[in-house]
Symmetry: C2
Subunit: 129 residues, 2 copies
């Protein structure tokens, strides 16, 4: 056991970026934000809890969609200002229905993108159940 | 080819988080920040260029350490506010000499961590060549 008891939330003005990675296939699923409360609930509940900047409240991932993330492992980076969650993802990580939020690939030096991932879920069905 | 020509840097106050992932083994290496200039130079040069918030200038990853990141693929997320670089990493991504900056694993619900990755490089040798 070592130095840092918790990530340095003060360094990020109370919010730190948290990366979710699929523990099974290594796919980077999304990036969201955590405050200390989200961090503590993630640790105690074993499910990913973020802080929604747009809604200005805790966001228990999957609370509306059912697409919860069960935490397999948590890593903290060298500067203790970024969190990496390795998770088991239920359903689709992305609210647009893709397995990963990173479904757009940059195709040229102008930065134009193309969708390169299959749609797993109809977004209308995710949120209108 | 679709919608977003470049990530929405304005949404992040000029800076967006950029995740670097090892294209060979899927390991998440680090998170850094990009402004539009860093983004454009990354696209044109084929090497990861970030914006260093501490030095307040462009940071061509590896410029001091030699540990450059050659870009294999770039993804942009659903909200166009996070960038994912899949890279070929030369040497060690972390300035502390580990392959990944996420070398600390959270070991208990109190958030205590343990180093779980091998040290690849002596940090003193990385920066005193």
């Amino acid at each position: 056991m070592t130095e840092t008891p918790i990530p340095d939330f003060a360094s990020g003005g109370g919010l730190l970026p948290a990366i979710a990675q699929d523990a099974e296939n290594g796919q980077v699923l999304m990036l969201a934000w955590m405050n200390e409360e989200a961090w503590r609930e993630t640790l105690s509940s074993g499910r990913a809890v973020y802080f929604s900047r747009s809604r200005n409240r805790l966001w228990r991932k999957g609370e509306e969609s059912g697409h919860v993330q069960t935490v397999v492992e948590i890593r903290v980076d060298c500067d203790a200002d970024t969190i990496l969650l390795r998770v088991h993802q239920q359903g689709a990580a992305c609210h647009e229905g893709y397995a990963t939020c990173f479904f757009r690939k940059v195709e040229d030096a102008g930065g134009r993108t193309q969708i390169v991932e299959p749609l797993l879920k109809d977004p209308a069905e995710i949120y209108d159940r």
